[in-house]
Symmetry: C2
Subunit: 426 residues, 2 copies
């Protein structure tokens, strides 16, 4: 038997223990928040027909090189999804009657055969929210608002969202007399600001023979940029859209989490309006998105405007699992003597009352049980002995303080209240 692999596939990983508990919590928070916003959970298969994944012009050229492909037993050519947007476009094309706006939540694993590195895996979990069918800046603001709620609830204290607008960047590029055919190249260089710094971008622009004037605007605020564009009679579309988005967010008192940043362009060519990047702290990007009004059509779907935001759930998991401990169990019941059935009854009542509860299933002695409880960071232990049982009592030990107390067993109300207080539950 020793010849069978005990490790997961290279570049992929098993998620266990605290990491798995934290990941589940992250997924729950994203899911519940998205549902409060009216996003609809949907599920597309991990496998897609290969033609769906290989569509040209959708900005997926890099990821297409990293595809996992296969044939099924009938020789159908298939591939594993590397993102959700291609599948979303297919669903929209195949279901033209879906009511608009179509607000979708796609959460699941995607696959890319790239070089494994820290915080990157060949199977990773993405959570995308998308609003399809609306051109309103309200939709952009909804996505940003949701991202703020999620980061807040996840416990990131210094979270913020950087936003800009492609149309604003384009107007600035035009203002700096960069010819239209060099606009994309110019943006690609700007996108490297975080990586190679201002000097690096400057050198790159110079080597591409593109004016570096644009760099002088990268620290400007929105009002200054509006003035410059107005003066030069350039398009104000991007500025005005951003003003609306920020106005809406201010109405929800969330503008404090948002930083306008004209240097933000985001790598992908397909963005047409707002672009945004979510930070869980200085330079810790945990997701991003933007408006992509032509992408769904490019991917084979109908012509529908869309805006969306995507969370890197594995990255979030790795970041948070280092800092947060989710206990597997709140209350552990140790039966002492022949009281298994009574302990089983008690553990049932605890669960019914909403506690995460377990009992010894290994017939361990007291010290082994306590050692296991300690290793697993379980906060409360109930000792259920024959004597206590005869007196309608159970002994509760708080593992942190060592404090012990005998509590009435039935009716269950007192025990429930005592445990809730100990656990800091309402």
């Amino acid at each position: 038997m020793s010849t069978i692999s005990t490790q997961p596939v290279k570049g992929m990983r098993d998620i266990l223990g605290n990491q798995a508990r934290v990941k589940r919590k992250i997924e729950r928070i994203i899911q519940e928040t998205a549902l409060r916003y009216g996003f609809e959970p949907m599920q597309v298969p991990v496998l897609e027909n290969l033609d769906v994944l290989l569509v040209k012009g959708g900005g997926g050229e890099e990821a297409q090189k990293e595809l996992y492909t296969l044939e099924d037993q009938s020789g159908r050519k298939l591939g594993m999804r590397f993102e959700f947007t291609t599948s979303l476009a297919r669903v929209l094309a195949g279901n033209p009657d879906l009511p608009k706006p179509f607000k979708s939540l796609n959460m699941g694993t995607v696959y890319r055969y790239d070089n494994p590195q820290a915080l990157r895996y060949r199977e990773f979990t993405q959570a995308d929210v998308d609003i399809v069918g609306s051109t309103s800046a309200l939709a952009d603001a909804e996505c940003i608002s949701l991202a703020i709620d999620v980061t807040q609830e996840l416990g990131f204290e210094e979270c913020y969202i950087r936003i800009s607008d492609r149309r604003l960047t384009n107007a600035l590029i035009a203002l700096c007399d960069v010819p239209e055919e060099q606009a994309k190249e110019c943006m690609r260089s700007l996108d490297k600001l975080d990586k190679i710094g201002l000097d690096g971008v400057k050198k790159e622009l110079q080597s591409k023979k593109i004016s570096t004037e644009i760099l002088s605007y990268l620290k400007s605020d929105l009002r200054q940029i509006r003035k410059e564009l107005e003066k030069a009679k350039r398009s104000l579309e991007g500025v005005e859209s951003l003003e609306k988005v920020m106005n809406y967010l201010e109405a929800q008192k969330k503008l404090k989490y948002v930083k306008f940043d004209p240097s933000l362009v985001r790598g992908l060519d397909y963005y047409t309006g707002t672009v945004m990047e979510i930070f869980g702290g200085a330079a810790v990007s945990i997701g991003g998105g933007g408006r992509y009004d032509n992408l769904i059509r490019s991917l084979g779907g109908p012509q529908l405007p869309a805006v969306g935001i995507s969370f890197g759930v594995d990255r979030l998991t790795d970041l948070l699992a280092d800092k947060q401990t989710e206990v597997p169990v709140e209350v552990f019941v140790i039966p002492i003597g022949k009281v298994e059935a009574e302990a089983f009854s008690l553990v049932g009542k605890l669960r019914e009352a909403g506690f995460a509860a377990e009992m010894d299933l290994m017939k361990r002695n007291l010290s082994k049980n306590l050692a296991s409880v300690n290793t697993r960071n379980i906060p409360l232990v109930l000792f259920l002995g024959e004597d206590e049982l005869a007196q309608n009592q159970v002994k509760v030990r708080d593992m942190a303080s060592g404090e012990e107390k005998l509590v009435e067993l039935s009716p269950f109300g007192k025990l429930k209240e005592y445990l809730s207080t100990r656990l800091g539950k309402k």
Copy 2:
């Protein structure tokens, strides 16, 4: 663009709308229940090294014929998981220090290239809970108890669990003088009882030249069987284990959901003790499981006893989505006039208070908005007009009764209370 597939891969499906909402609810209930029982969420990759999936003797011979296989770009031979137990065995082999009992929850998609048919898909979602490391009947009772909680919370009114024990069946087979080498064949015939009826099984046994005496025990209760086995001095291991399991379940007042059924054997060869099948109503199987004390070793893992139960989440989804409607949104805000920012603020407050809330993102007129609200079964509408706003009010319409009421907008308490009452929330 019309050449790109708009349909999912053959045999697989997109899950959208009410079906997706119901599926999410099912997954949430299974997950939350399992966590209350102290099961640990874990995640294994969809892809496994092919040798892991092709292990012999694990009872997966049929599923192995239905594998999706592929090579990654380095030529590694991989396959898509067709169940979770193989991966669980690999994880246990690769992580010998995992504390025991190891109580795992595996929920996700698995893949089998079989013939698509109603309620069966080539990608389907399974939810497995397993307790590894304990031989105690308490562990078997835990799995059954959890299955009862899940079916109750899902709203199945006539749910019950059929249970038996392989050791009891073996003892009965021996009692009927079926030679040991025919025991498996005998069990395979018994397993077809639901499909081909008593007469069918009788004929099949006769054609295999196996005594049909066993059939006379299939309606017996546990006490009768105990008597017969005692009289013949046959092993009582199975009977005694079942008695314990049922005694524990009685302590939780759950025995009423359990039916001992000596005809239950379940198809798979690897069960060694308790077997169980979950029914959501007469003849509607929604999951099952049992004790498999040797399987993990057969699959390449360490020698560890285990018991588990598995839910067919797609089957549950198809059954429940027909009967249950989960509304996507509880409250829909329609801004009337230039009050988008105020509406955006209001919808933010609603979500903060826990309501699933949306506002118009399409600048639709009143009648189109109401038509959309109707189609989507949204129960409450808030009309936010400039006049109402000036008077610190909002108009609430209950879509079912048509009743309308002006409610104070700020402070938010009154509106929150009114909406909660209307929605039947506490």
